[in-house]
């Protein structure tokens, strides 16, 4: 039985963007010696996400734009707005990024794939994205493998 976990750091460079991390999952699986099992990944932050979709730039734009329409950063002027618009004494700062937290909930924060014969089993068009909703920030994603070795 193999169970191994790795933390990777993803540096986002913009307010919102999708960053392809597929190769990280494949590398962790390869280095782990896992033969058959699963690999899972999860962002450890509540204003970012993990999404699996086709890896093309136009879709990256559409995914982020759609989530921003569903959960905009700022409520329209005059609307009641988000409750999460207040000082957080435990953080020493204002919290006003409810829209980014909501995007994270809508898009999800994790994904998993089967591993077969040492390879990540994914569709030919499936790409694993870390999704930044409130960057730029250095973020942490955990990748864990579980299963049998060769």
């Amino acid at each position: 039985m193999i169970i191994k976990m790795e933390r990777i750091e993803v540096q986002s460079t913009k307010d919102m963007e999708m960053i392809d991390i597929t190769s990280h999952l494949e590398r962790v699986v390869k280095e782990s010696g896992l033969h058959n099992g699963i690999v899972l990944a999860m962002t450890t932050h509540t204003s970012s996400g993990l999404i699996v979709t086709e890896g093309i730039e136009c879709l990256e734009r559409d995914v982020v734009a759609h989530l921003d329409r569903l959960a905009p950063k700022e409520a329209p002027p005059g609307a009641p707005g988000y409750w999460h618009n207040r000082y957080l004494d435990f953080d020493g700062r204002l919290g006003f990024n409810a829209g980014d937290h909501l995007k994270s909930i809508l898009g999800g924060i994790n994904c998993f794939f089967a591993v077969e014969n040492g390879k990540v089993v994914r569709g030919g068009r499936q790409t694993v994205y870390f999704v930044e909703y409130d960057g730029p920030l250095a973020r942490t994603v955990i990748i864990q493998v579980m299963g049998e070795g060769a």
Binding site: R86, G92, R93, L94, G135, P136
Partner: protein, 284 residues
């Protein structure tokens, strides 16, 4: 790049500095009370990029006497500035120390820092205390600006009275050539701070005000409803500087809020760059 300057940031969460100086965790968490994760310098620079700015003023606080802590000392600010040319370092000294003028002179002439940050609430002194005057005289002699924390202070143990704008009037009047910045629009005393700036051309205000809601709503409240935006645009356009108060708030969010207020393009250039350059003596 000649984009703009954030005149009010704190380098508290810079990971490289914490790695070099582990003692910097304490001032971040227990004196400044910031809970966010430590980030690489690159994140700071990307924040500036995202906000469309090229440089940031780094502000320390000498709270040794009152909090037994240095929220960065002057040497650490200089060290960080040496690591990244987009940073402009300010010094901080305790104005109640008899050797405060000498410490400031060392910070400016030897360490290469560019201004003085004072935080009356955290340092527990009133700006118009005559004990502080030798320090102001030294700042004037050195040709550097002083940025005062003004208005409310979040930190537990801090008293609001130290930030009352009228406590800065004697300083502005007695040192008419000394360039003074009152931070945070001195909220909740925005009207009083504006009155000082209207009366004293050496008084500047920075925009780093955010105490509830969000940057857009708070700044609209402070710079439109408390005091009409036209007052800032027509009368104080040469005395407003952009400041974010990063990392208490992201630079990108404060910049977006200030740009959304409705200032003319000419006024935005003054707020985001020209006024800061004047404060810094003409060079970034």
């Amino acid at each position: 790049m000649n984009l703009g300057i954030d005149f009010h940031t704190h380098p508290l969460l810079v990971r490289e500095m914490v790695a070099r100086h582990p003692e910097l965790v304490k001032p971040a968490r227990e004196t400044f009370y910031i809970g966010n994760t430590f980030q690489p310098i690159r994140t700071f620079l990307l924040e500036l990029d995202e906000a469309g700015l090229d440089k940031a003023v780094l502000l320390p606080i000498d709270a040794q006497r009152t909090r037994a802590d240095m929220v960065y000392n002057n040497e650490q600010v200089a060290e960080l500035c040496a690591m990244e040319p987009r940073f402009i370092g300010f010094a901080s000294v305790d104005p109640m120390r008899p050797d405060a003028p000498q410490l400031l002179e060392h910070a400016i002439k030897v360490l290469g820092l560019r201004g003085l940050k004072l935080a009356p609430a955290m340092q527990e002194f009133f700006a118009d205390d005559r004990m502080a005057y030798p320090l102001y005289e030294k700042a004037l002699e050195l040709g550097i600006p002083i940025l005062f924390h003004a208005g409310m202070s979040w930190e537990p143990g801090s008293r609001l009275a130290y930030g009352q704008p009228l406590r800065f009037e004697n300083v502005a009047a007695d040192f008419p050539q000394l360039r003074i910045v009152l931070a945070h629009l001195a909220w909740p005393w925005v009207t009083e701070a504006v009155a000082l700036a209207l009366k004293y051309p050496n008084v500047y205000l920075d925009t780093s005000a955010l105490y509830f809601d969000n940057p857009r709503d708070f700044l609209t409240y402070a710079m439109t409803h408390i005091v009409p935006l036209t007052v800032f645009e027509r009368s104080l356009r040469n005395q407003i500087v952009f400041g974010s108060n990063y990392p208490r708030v992201e630079i990108k969010n404060m910049a977006r809020a200030v740009r959304g207020l409705g200032f003319s393009e000419e006024c935005q250039k003054l707020v985001f760059r020209e006024n800061a350059l004047r404060l810094l003596g003409g060079r970034a």
